[in-house]
């Protein structure tokens, strides 16, 4: 009789996901322990799915008590080691995109008979506030019962926690529900999920696990004050999220691709989303629709106030939209931009709301499923379209690009959105695409402030992260971090200026260092230099984003800065890789952790990404049989001895869809 939890000789006896969140900065450690109970060497693989926004900071492999630590290296340096390992038929770890929100880290090693192996992956991320809450997302996917399975999350928020929830998509009955506990009081919150072996079974007599799905922790903090500043070891972070302000009215132009590539489900889902969005529009808002295929058609000649009558007409217009023909995104966008500019020039929208909405919340939402394959008409050169759009907008309002489906030039959309102070989102072609569209609109539908500037007294700070924002949206949060020139400051002052719907506001935050110390006294909850790491994370993230639209010398400098920080703070970013080398049989076995991007953008990034997201076929190799477990997969090799390696049975030979 086979012991429970032993599959093909490998027993996974423990998996723990430990999350420590301090002031939105999450430090997660995934530890898995296994033993090879077979008579021969077996391959054990370890998969973790982590958020795309996270950076891996450490990976260690411990075999029979000997730990092999990970080293973060510049991608090119790591690449050589990786290629060497692969050319020798050795296993190598990979990170590739997995679904909408996640990346998958995979590594496997050979473990001698009777040996124990332990994998530990650490990653960090700054939790961002959306629609009034922070969300931490964990993927749980075991196909094997695990004796000690545990998810533990400790949250410490100096502002106090206002709500905390944890949900598992796979919890289907009360029995499993009892394995989940969640509590919060004051500044501390705790979530624990510890299903017993019996609770993990998919049925009372089954040996396979029902733990398969998403585990999501959501919380928010008290907002008695609009801002909160924290300072530790000379680094500060400033969170700003005022409440109770009126919503700035918007002028929205929806620029919609109705070319043949949108035919069928995409146009139907777009219609559904637009109809819902129309329901949510406020009477102070102004709107119009621009449809482009080979030609450009507009709903109205100019922006129209969202009165009940015009909303009804808009509904009818949306319901009659049909897809077909070629794609002329250039003229569609330029028509929309021109309409917004004209509305401002001729005062067709109220003066105060005009200046606000045009600068901030005028949404030129290009629901652009660039044809598959593109069938452009009009201007089709992406660089030229970008230039035209940039020159037309001239920084006056943001452009949001929503790309539908997988086969579009997402980098073009993203690049264009970023250089026009907006952002791009991919809309996944699933049944909930209409909700994705609608959800995005809701995120940007309620601007409370425009032209937000966060100011600190001159000569007191260094290395500030982004401190100007075109808008602050209800339910979101602005985060600015930096370094203090004088560590021994007694007090610290910050001003946040912005334009509200009807007046200008200046929020002042004064910090007394002694009070601060009291607030951050819960040392056991604070992982040492979390503000410094949060600052580094945010700085790298912003440098990488800026880099996407930089050229020449500027791009070189941004890359150098981001690389320098990634190496200094041990972050696996798109510029670095983590290498774990395990000496084995006088040879080296190399594992590598790496971070993929959205897809090809330039010559510097593509080659390394392509190689990293490929498994190298090395026949004759024995295929692995992979099982999966919580954020991890386990498999065994059918091979005979310790030096045998294996490769996955299916070998994708392209950069993943993202």
């Amino acid at each position: 009789s086979r012991p429970l939890g032993v599959v093909d000789g490998i027993e996974v006896y423990s998996t723990k996901i430990s999350c420590k969140v301090t002031s939105r900065f999450a430090h997660n450690v995934v530890t898995t322990r296994a033993v090879n109970r077979a008579d021969t060497a077996k391959e054990v693989s370890f998969d973790v799915e982590l958020p795309k926004t996270a950076f891996i900071t450490n990976f260690t492999l411990t075999i029979d008590g000997v730990t092999y630590p990970g080293n973060v290296k510049e991608k090119e340096v790591a690449k050589k080691q990786y290629e060497k390992a692969v050319s020798q038929g050795k296993t190598a770890g990979l990170v590739k995109a997995s679904g909408r929100k996640l990346e998958k880290f995979t590594v496997s090693v050979n473990v001698a008979a009777g040996s124990k192996v332990s994998f530990e992956l650490t990653y960090e991320e700054l939790l961002k506030r959306h629609k009034g809450k922070y969300e931490m997302y964990l993927k749980v996917q075991p196909k094997q019962l695990i004796k000690h399975f545990e998810i533990e999350a400790d949250i410490f928020e100096p502002q106090g926690i206002s709500m905390l929830d944890a949900e598992a998509s796979f919890i289907t009955n009360d029995l499993l529900g009892s394995a989940l506990t969640k509590s919060f009081s004051g500044k501390k919150g705790h979530v624990s999920f510890k299903p017993s072996l019996d609770q993990q079974r998919s049925c009372p007599t089954c040996t396979d696990s029902l733990l398969k799905g998403d585990f999501t922790i959501t919380y928010d903090v008290n907002r008695e004050s609009p801002a909160n500043v924290q300072i530790v070891n000379g680094y500060f972070v400033h969170f700003f999220a005022p409440q109770g302000l009126p919503v700035v009215s918007k002028n929205v132009v929806f620029v919609i691709d109705v070319s043949g590539s949108m035919h069928g489900q995409k146009i139907k889902q777009t219609k559904d989303a637009l109809l819902k969005i129309l329901e949510d529009m406020k009477e102070d808002d102004y709107l119009n629709f621009i449809l482009f295929s080979g030609d450009v058609t507009t709903w109205k000649g100019n922006l129209v106030q969202a009165t009940p009558e015009s909303i009804q007409q808009a509904r009818e217009f949306v319901m009659n939209m049909n897809a077909g023909g070629m794609t002329n995104i250039n003229d569609g966008l330029l028509r929309g931009i021109s309409m917004l500019n004209t509305a401002r020039e001729v005062n067709a929208v109220p003066e105060r709301s005009t200046s606000i909405t045009e600068l901030v919340q005028t949404v030129a939402g290009a629901v652009a499923g660039l044809g598959t394959p593109p069938s452009p008409s009009g201007e089709s050169r992406p660089k030229k379209i970008q230039e035209n759009v940039r020159n037309a907008i001239r920084g006056k309002f943001p452009l949001y690009n929503l790309g539908f489906g997988n086969n579009l030039n997402y980098n073009f959309l993203e690049s264009m959105a970023l250089e026009n102070h907006g952002l791009a989102r991919r809309i996944y072609e699933d049944s909930d695409a209409n909700l994705q569209l609608q959800g995005f609109y809701e995120e940007v539908a309620n601007p409370l402030l425009t032209g937000v500037e966060v100011e600190y007294p001159e000569n007191t700070i260094l290395d500030l992260t982004q401190n100007t924002y075109q808008h602050f949206y209800d339910g979101s949060e602005i985060v600015v971090a930096g370094r203090l020139v004088d560590k021994d400051l007694n007090s610290f002052k910050a001003d946040v200026k912005g334009h509200g719907a009807v007046n200008d506001l200046t929020f002042t935050e004064e910090v007394d260092m002694k009070e601060m110390e009291k607030a951050l006294r819960e040392r056991e909850y604070i992982f040492g230099n979390y503000i410094e790491r949060l600052w580094a994370y945010l700085t790298i993230e912003q440098l990488l984003e800026k880099r996407k639209n930089a050229h020449g010398e500027e791009k070189k400098n941004l890359t150098a800065q981001a690389l320098d920080l990634s190496l200094k703070y041990h972050f696996v970013t798109p510029l670095t890789s983590m290498v774990v080398t395990k000496p084995e049989d006088s040879e080296e076995q190399t594992a590598i952790a790496d971070k993929p991007g959205e897809g090809p953008t330039d010559a510097e990034v593509i080659p390394s990404m392509a190689y990293l997201t490929r498994y190298q076929p090395q026949p004759p190799q024995t295929p692995c049989h992979h099982g999966e477990f919580p954020g991890s997969s386990w498999g065994k090799a059918q091979g005979p001895g310790p030096s045998t390696s294996c490769l996955p049975r299916s070998q994708p030979h392209r950069v993943d869809g993202d």
């Binding site: 008695e224 004050s225 609009p226 005022p242 409440q243 109770g244 302000l245 009126p246 509200g500 719907a501 009807v502 007046n503 200008d504 506001l505 200046t506 929020f507 002042t508 935050e509 004064e510």
Partner: protein, 238 residues
């Protein structure tokens, strides 16, 4: 609530109390020309059985009809309305709200300064007491710092004193409290017996305040104020 009327040209001050029932709203300032109105709602102690029946302002409503602007100030929050647009702030905010002809500055846990253009400035002071105090609760103080742009038609419990008025104090003599002499005050064609006392100005120091000596007019300011206190009761804050 206590009322303190400082008359700088005389270097003196007059004070009186208005003992309205909790919930009563009193008209403090009304200027039909500028459209400015300030009303205050009275609150009492937490326990209605407390021996001393003290009342305070628990809510203030400042409105400018011409600007279609209103502020409701409470010890727990401050709400601004520009037409239908509503903004809510907490006393934990330090924030400046500025628009044409208006400036509102909230100083965290201390006070709020409201200015209508150049010439009308009010200060609302937050008085916080211990949260678990068995009797007292948080209340507000209201100060007129500048009223020179308000019209001569301004009225209300405070507004009527924005215009120069004559009063004379004579016959200072010992009163029932040896430390507080009584005197005779002639004001608005009334002859009143007043008592020398003091009130506090909490604008600079919200915990201790600054003592201001004044002549106290008894009986809810009767004789000093135009009409009777009930004339100043209005149905709503706005």
């Amino acid at each position: 609530p206590h009322f303190l009327i400082q008359i700088p040209e005389k270097g003196d001050a007059i004070c009186f109390n208005i003992d309205g029932d909790p919930g009563t709203v009193l008209r403090l300032i009304q200027d039909p020309v500028t459209g400015l109105t300030v009303n205050g709602q009275v609150i009492g102690d937490k326990s209605p059985d407390s021996k001393t029946r003290k009342t305070y302002f628990g809510k203030l409503g400042i409105a400018n009809a011409q600007m279609d602007f209103r502020i409701e100030v409470r010890p727990d929050k401050i709400t601004l309305w520009n037409g239908a647009a509503q903004s809510t702030f907490s006393w934990l905010d330090t924030v400046t709200v500025a628009q044409d002809g208006l400036s509102v500055r909230i100083n965290r846990k201390k006070n709020m300064v409201v200015s209508f253009g150049d010439g009308v400035t009010f200060v609302v002071v937050l008085h916080q007491v211990w949260k678990k105090h068995p009797i007292h609760q948080d209340f507000l103080g209201f100060y007129v710092v500048d009223s020179h742009r308000m019209s001569a038609q301004t009225h209300g419990l405070l507004g009527q004193f924005f215009h120069p008025f004559e009063f004379k104090v004579s016959d200072v003599h010992p009163g029932s409290d040896p430390t507080k002499p009584d005197a005779t005050m002639v004001v608005k064609n009334h002859r009143l017996t007043v008592t020398r006392g003091s009130q506090k100005d909490y604008r600079k120091d919200v915990s201790s305040g600054t003592k201001v000596a004044c002549w106290f007019v008894h009986n809810n300011g009767q004789g000093l104020i135009d009409g009777v206190p009930s004339d100043y009761i209005v149905p709503d804050l706005f």
